[in-house]
């Protein structure tokens, strides 16, 4: 008997387990979990580790430690003429570790999911309409970008955005949505003539 693995379902289960572990574990167990997740990231999701080069990431991770040393517990340690709390350092590191574990968990779980797999997942569970909507959404993104660019350049070449910027912006929004709706209508007609029905599986 061949065992069939549903990637989306597996991702949901694995994600839930990892998130629950990140939330409930404390102290050395949380430290071990973060090391394991980091190793998994290093092995399978190396490009995602680029986040370590972002200032935003370090602000996010160091914030609990920096606030913890001054605002949690009694300040009983002297580090270069600054009094800090040893309890605060421990609590801060723990908070950062928990956040890091959650980030790694999401990253690992999401790496296995693609649009096609999600559409397949919806269709398998009788949500054919949702699958269609997601398929349309992911394929329409490029058309929307193209339409927006054409509308923007058309308005700009006619002096829009300079004389009456608010009016031009409103025209831009109306034109982009109208053209996208026209495109959606073409998709609907194409689906209907091919006998597509969201109720038939």
């Amino acid at each position: 008997m061949q065992l069939k693995i549903n990637p989306v379902r597996t991702a949901i289960v694995a994600g839930t387990v990892l998130i629950v572990l990140s939330v409930i574990l404390k102290g050395r167990y949380l430290f071990v979990l973060s090391i394991v997740l980091f190793a998994v990231m290093l092995l399978f999701r190396r490009p995602e580790l680029r986040m370590f080069f972002r200032i935003r990431f370090w602000v996010f991770i160091l914030l609990p430690v920096l606030t913890g040393v001054f605002f949690i517990g009694e300040r009983n340690l002297h580090i270069a003429a600054v009094r800090v709390s040893s309890e605060g350092i421990f609590e801060g590191i723990q908070m950062s570790g928990r956040a890091l574990c959650l980030l790694f968990s999401f990253s690992i779980v999401l790496s296995k999911i693609t649009t096609g797999k999600i559409i397949g997942f919806f269709e398998r569970y009788g949500l054919k309409g949702m699958g269609l909507a997601l398929g349309v959404a992911s394929n329409t993104l490029a058309t929307i970008a193209q339409n927006s660019s054409s509308v923007y350049h058309t308005l700009r070449l006619r002096g829009g955005f300079r004389k009456r910027p608010i009016k031009s912006f409103s025209l831009f929004v109306v034109a982009v949505i109208s053209s996208s709706i026209r495109h959606a209508d073409d998709i609907v007609h194409a689906a209907i003539v091919r006998g597509f029905d969201t109720d038939i599986s």
Partner: protein, 232 residues
């Protein structure tokens, strides 16, 4: 949620893509422009307003319960599977905002009108089969939905910090607020006054977004009718 036609699902996908497109392009740009900790209060407000306008415009094209929530789900999935960075915060915000908009639309009550208002032979406006009833909401529903949507923006940062860093971080934040107000010589009430002002700004932005969505939907509908009148 009721039975939906192919057209309804395609429109839900389209409006989800429009909101997703804004989140992916403008979202990234705004996150770069604003400093990390101030991000929620500027980026969130701008993206929330645009998202609210798009989702509510979508609702006017696919009237019915659950439409805004479905548009939000599509946007959240697009945001989740898009390349670059980890986006727990934006995904939670999109889902919460769409849920609150849906609640706002439900709160105001259903105003049902006969589908007889549909224009004869106009394929774009004919969403339901003859004899069925379609929902049309008054602008106040849109305004209420907008207010609820943007109101989420204020507690979002605290809720996300609670989820990511745990309970301890909220205790730290409260202690920081107390110590900060004492250091600046302000009363603790002043902190709450700041929160109230921020909330009022969000309520105003939400009301404006809701009304803008209603106006936008009407304008687009009128233009689409014009387009189809020429075509047919």
């Amino acid at each position: 949620m009721g039975r939906r036609s192919v057209r309804d699902w395609v429109y839900i996908g389209l409006f989800g893509a429009l909101w997703g497109g804004v989140e992916l392009s403008l979202g990234s740009l705004l996150h770069m422009l604003f400093p990390p900790l101030a991000g929620t209060y500027f980026t969130g407000l701008i993206l929330g307003s645009i998202g609210c306008i798009i989702a509510l415009t979508g609702y006017s094209f696919v009237p019915g319960r659950g439409t805004v929530l479905l548009i939000g789900c599509i946007t959240a999935i697009l945001k989740l599977i898009s390349p670059g960075g980890i986006k727990i915060g934006p995904v939670v915000a999109i889902l919460a905002e769409s849920l609150l908009m849906e609640a706002g639309l439900l709160l105001e009550g259903d105003f049902l009108m006969e589908a007889g208002r549909q224009l004869k032979g106009d394929s774009l406006l004919e969403r339901t089969s003859p004899g069925t009833r379609i929902q049309r909401k008054r602008p106040i529903s849109y305004v209420l939905a907008g207010i609820l949507c943007l109101a989420w923006n204020l507690p979002h940062r605290f809720i996300m910090l609670r989820i990511l860093f745990g309970k301890s971080f909220i205790d730290v934040a409260l202690k920081m607020a107390k110590d900060g107000s004492r250091l600046l010589g302000l009363r603790t009430d002043a902190v709450f006054a700041v929160i109230v002002v921020l909330l009022i700004i969000r309520i105003a932005a939400g009301a404006l977004s809701g009304y803008a969505a209603w106006k936008l939907a009407r304008t687009i509908r009128r233009r689409s009718v014009f387009h189809y009148a020429i075509k047919n």
